[in-house]
């Protein structure tokens, strides 16, 4: 059994107590209504036609047979439905910025010509049932002129590479300039001059599909000039605004409803092409349209974590002091730039001389985009393996090397609190680091070898603006209105608990209204580790406002109600606010077959005050397991000759199953730094950052060879041992 422990703070009245989700019964009885579970009168089913080629110009399209099929009520194509999907491609990947979207050079439409990856959308139909819609799509005739394609980001920047766009394959930045993202701190050349040793290495990481269990879908229903959109969204306010802008509507003309949704992990922050396609089909047909993607369409047509190449150069003194760090990286964005393409990790070190250059690159693979901690797990895999390697080459314990070099608060850059030393030393003790790690990597006799690895992180826990409304009636029952959806972490329950605590009432006396833009105020959305902190703080402020009114006017009577609302704009007084973590893992590698088994896993986190221990525990465990899958299994491989994806779907991407899952020991060190709701920070994204790095280090410690390509699959281990 996994261990779960906490220390540091006592539970409050509601907060800090293990609390079942307020919607748990709906979730275990099948009552919870997900988007595909809705059925509206007269509803049609939509289906999209997608490109079978990695890159092709569409010469002609003939929809006559599809239109003639009985039951077909609308057919739209790249020729007659040119809707820009603003969030589908943005200069610099600035997903929340309207002016940048408007100035975007390489726009993505709901249907594209040329098509730029296997799965790019061409046309869609709406018909009376899904089988007829499928049949109609297969009757559309398209003449393609196949174009040369490119799959690998470094190749794509060669002068003679096939061009995804006429301007070339380096993605434009937010200014519209074709330049890499550069961060240049201190004097890196001087730092390398000061070094006694310089180490250089190349790392690469694969494409990780978000692979949420619910395939993308959208149900559009026009009521006059108002669009009602049932869609699995991680951010109903963003989705509403994006959809309104893309369709030329005012925000108030769009209602987004997301009552339950089957996960997202970052691929549902904005609106999706499915929303725009469903809305366009519905407008043409004059009735509601449910657009469904198959699992394969979701895998190829939505997005996953960008694959990267990372070239590191590290300068270090004999005593282990790092004097300079450099990384030149490439991120494969597919043919549309939805998000940043970032590669993080070096910032966790205090070294004053750091140079980082990242080129987000267009390729003819499927689109890349945000996946839980978008820039971190692959970046930490690279830098943490690099630094672990340096430590062992210098004969230094990687933990000691980290404690010497990790970023710490300075007078110029103070933190709201800093607990990384405690987090790491706690993990060292709980995991029994000294006993488990091999001082000489690969020193186990025989073909089955054990080793231990470690990694550490800090991750954003900043405060920001969101909104909440609390109402009380004459029965002294409270209703909380928050524009959150619950993609899995338990936001509704967390918000209800914060309200109950702030109001001094039991959770059972607070009804939470969520997931509907017509009923709820703005919320930041369940992305960027923001909901607990930002919407949570708005809940506290709204409750305080309501309590002031109650103190002033007394409890309402009769049909009267009192309403408190808040949209706070908190700051951290110029201080950096971070959560902290350290993961320790012991693996056993069977070098005869290349398999990696997790023997022990210890995750120590400081995420401020924990609101609901039960769900926080499972955020860390679930994220860690996703990270394990990323470390040793998942990728989307392409055939270099045909440009065809070879491993879409759970089976071929080798997703972990119940039988692959180790116990994950989780320990929270709880701190109230005085910011955020009751001192809460963030847990959801931070848990996924460390598993790839820690497992890579553990495998190297076991087999004595550094694995520089993730996922660390069996064939790669066998290759390294050969």
């Amino acid at each position: 059994m996994s261990e779960f422990t906490r220390q540091g703070l006592e539970p409050l009245s509601t907060i800090g107590n293990d609390t079942p989700r307020i919607d748990a019964i709906e979730r275990v009885t099948g009552q919870a209504k997900y988007t595909r579970d809705w059925k509206l009168p007269g509803m049609l089913f939509g289906k999209v036609l997608r490109s079978p080629h990695p890159h092709a110009r569409l010469v002609s399209i003939d929809t006559s047979q599809a239109e003639a099929l009985p039951g077909v009520q609308a057919v739209i194509t790249y020729e007659n439905a040119q809707v820009v999907w603003g969030a589908g491609s943005v200069n610099g990947g600035r997903q929340y910025n309207d002016p940048t979207k408007a100035a975007t050079i390489h726009r993505r439409y709901i249907f594209n010509n040329p098509v730029r990856f296997v799965g790019d959308s061409i046309a869609a139909v709406a018909a009376t049932d899904r089988h007829t819609a499928e049949e109609a799509v297969s009757l559309i005739k398209v003449e393609y002129e196949e174009l040369p394609f490119v799959l690998e980001p470094e190749e794509a920047l060669q002068a003679d590479a096939p061009k995804v766009y006429p301007e070339g394959n380096l993605c434009p930045d937010f200014r519209g300039e074709f330049a890499p993202m550069v961060s240049d701190i201190g004097d890196v050349e001087a730092g390398f001059s000061d070094a006694d040793h310089i180490f250089e290495e190349r790392y690469d990481t694969g494409f990780i599909h978000n692979a949420q269990m619910e395939p993308r879908c959208s149900l559009a229903h026009w009521q006059g000039d108002k669009l009602v959109l049932y869609t699995p969204s991680q951010g109903i306010s963003n989705c509403r605004h994006d959809t309104a802008r893309d369709l030329g509507l005012e925000d108030h003309q769009v209602q987004v409803i997301a009552q339950y949704m089957g996960g997202g992990f970052g691929n549902k922050n904005q609106n999706q092409d499915a929303d725009l396609i469903a809305a366009t089909l519905s407008r043409r047909a004059g009735v509601p349209v449910m657009l469904e993607y198959s699992r394969r369409e979701d895998w190829l047509g939505v997005h996953g974590r960008w694959p990267t190449v990372q070239h590191y150069k590290i300068g270090v003194k004999d005593d282990g002091e790092v004097t300079a760090m450099q990384m030149v990286g490439y991120s494969g964005m597919g043919p549309y730039r939805k998000n940043s393409g970032g590669i993080s990790g070096m910032d966790a070190y205090g070294c004053p001389n750091r140079y980082r250059e990242i080129s987000p690159v267009y390729t003819n693979r499927t689109t890349s985009g945000n996946f839980r901690a978008p820039s971190e797990p692959h970046g930490f895999f690279g830098i943490e393996n690099m630094m672990d390697d340096v430590a062992y080459k210098l004969g230094i314990d990687p933990v000691e090397f980290t404690l010497k070099n990790m970023r710490r608060p300075t007078e110029e850059r103070p933190f709201t609190n800093y607990s990384l030393d405690e987090v790491i030393s706690d993990g060292v003790e709980r995991f029994n680091w000294q006993a488990r790690r091999k001082v000489v990597p690969g020193s186990d006799d025989g073909p089955i070898k054990r080793g231990a690895g470690f990694s550490f992180m800090m991750f954003r826990a900043g405060v920001g603006t969101s909104s909440a409304i609390v109402r009380v009636n004459s029965d002294q029952e409270y209703t909380l209105y928050v524009g959150v959806t619950d993609i899995g972490p338990g936001a509704k329950t967390t918000m209800g608990m914060i309200a109950a605590e702030a109001l001094g009432t039991p959770l059972s006396n607070v009804e939470v209204v969520w997931g509907d833009t017509d009923r709820c105020p703005y919320s930041v959305g369940e992305s960027g580790s923001r909901t607990t902190i930002m919407t949570g703080l708005a809940v506290v402020e709204a409750a305080e406002e309501l309590k002031r009114q109650i103190a002033d006017k007394g409890m309402p009577s009769g049909n009267d109600v009192l309403i408190g609302s808040a949209t706070p704009t908190p700051t951290t007084d110029g201080k950096t606010r971070q959560c902290f973590g350290a993961h320790f893992v012991e693996v056993e590698v069977d070098t005869r077959v290349g398999s990696t088994k997790i023997l022990k896993y210890t995750a120590v986190h400081e995420s401020g005050r924990i609101i609901n221990p039960t769900t926080a525990r499972d955020q860390i465990r679930g994220a860690t397991i996703q990270g394990i899958g990323q470390a040793i299994h998942e990728d989307l491989l392409y055939d270099p000759r045909s440009g065809q994806p070879l491993t879409p779907g759970y089976y071929r991407a080798r997703h972990l199953t119940h039988k692959d899952i180790p116990d994950i020991d989780v320990h929270f060190i709880e701190v109230d730094d005085g910011y955020g709701p009751f001192g809460a920070k963030t847990a959801g994204e931070s848990g996924i950052i460390l598993a790839p790095a820690a497992i890579g280090n553990a495998v190297a410690n076991a087999i004595g060879r550094r694995m520089k390509s993730m996922p660390i699959t069996r064939d790669k281990i066998l290759g390294a041992m050969a």
């Binding site: 099948g30 997900y34 079978p52 799509v137 297969s138 394969r296 397991i625 996703q626 045909s642 119940h658």
Partner: protein, 226 residues
């Protein structure tokens, strides 16, 4: 796919996109080309054996459309209620449960035997409802997640899922619950290893695996299905 027991008659191997790349000109991504019915009627075995009828060894949609809405009358007993239904031959059991009987608790995650979200009990055995044609289920007794609670009282495994955070996003939860229910009927107090073995065909992308296994063990400790 992970759990062969639940797959019914499908020979899933023929549905392998990996066979596609050899002949990209013949490829079409859309589901019509790989839909379940097409596959079943189009002889997946021939593809698996390497016969090159087309990328998937599937007859064209046009050839089938004349016959595509043929129907058959079947009897199903669903959560204790006998149903007489006229179903299209191409409908899966999952489609009939969701679209015809409004039992939308059963989820479709992959529609191809990979994820287990659609797991229901057929004559007491867990099966992937996405991979059973409704006509095959004629005469069967079906139990779905809506049939687990009795007179509004949750079953032990449902209670354990509530107490130990079994659902995160909740999309895989009905399938996990159905397989766990079948396990507890034959093994009232399983070990965590036995739970993992039984639930191997039910994926959870939230990766809430630890909590799910703990919940099922907890349900067993509380006496299984009373």
């Amino acid at each position: 796919m992970r759990d062969k027991k639940k797959q019914g008659n499908l020979l899933d191997k023929g549905n392998d996109p990996a066979v596609k790349y050899a002949d990209p000109k013949d490829q079409i991504l859309n589901d019509k080309q790989q839909s379940r019915r097409d596959f079943l009627e189009g002889s997946g075995a021939a593809v698996a054996a390497g016969a090159g009828i087309s990328a998937f060894g599937i007859p064209s949609a046009k050839a089938q459309s004349a016959n595509s809405s043929a129907t058959t009358a079947i009897n199903l007993t669903v959560n204790g209620t006998r149903q007489m239904l006229e179903v299209q031959d191409r409908w899966t059991l999952a489609e009939v449960l969701r679209d015809q009987l409004d039992l939308t608790g059963t989820k479709i995650g992959c529609n191809r035997s990979e994820c287990g979200a659609c797991t229901v009990l057929m004559n007491g055995q867990p099966v992937y409802a996405c991979s059973q044609l409704a006509v095959w289920a004629d005469g069967a007794e079906i139990r779905t997640v809506e049939g687990l609670a009795t007179n509004g009282e949750l079953s032990p495994v449902q209670r354990a899922f509530v107490a130990n955070n079994g659902p995160q996003c909740g999309f895989c939860t009905p399938g996990q619950l159905m397989t766990a229910t079948a396990l507890l009927q034959t093994n009232p107090s399983p070990s965590s290893e036995e739970v993992k073995e039984a639930l191997v065909g039910n994926l959870c992308r939230c990766s809430n695996y630890n909590a799910i296994v703990e919940a099922v063990v907890m349900a067993g400790e509380e006496g299984g299905l009373a």
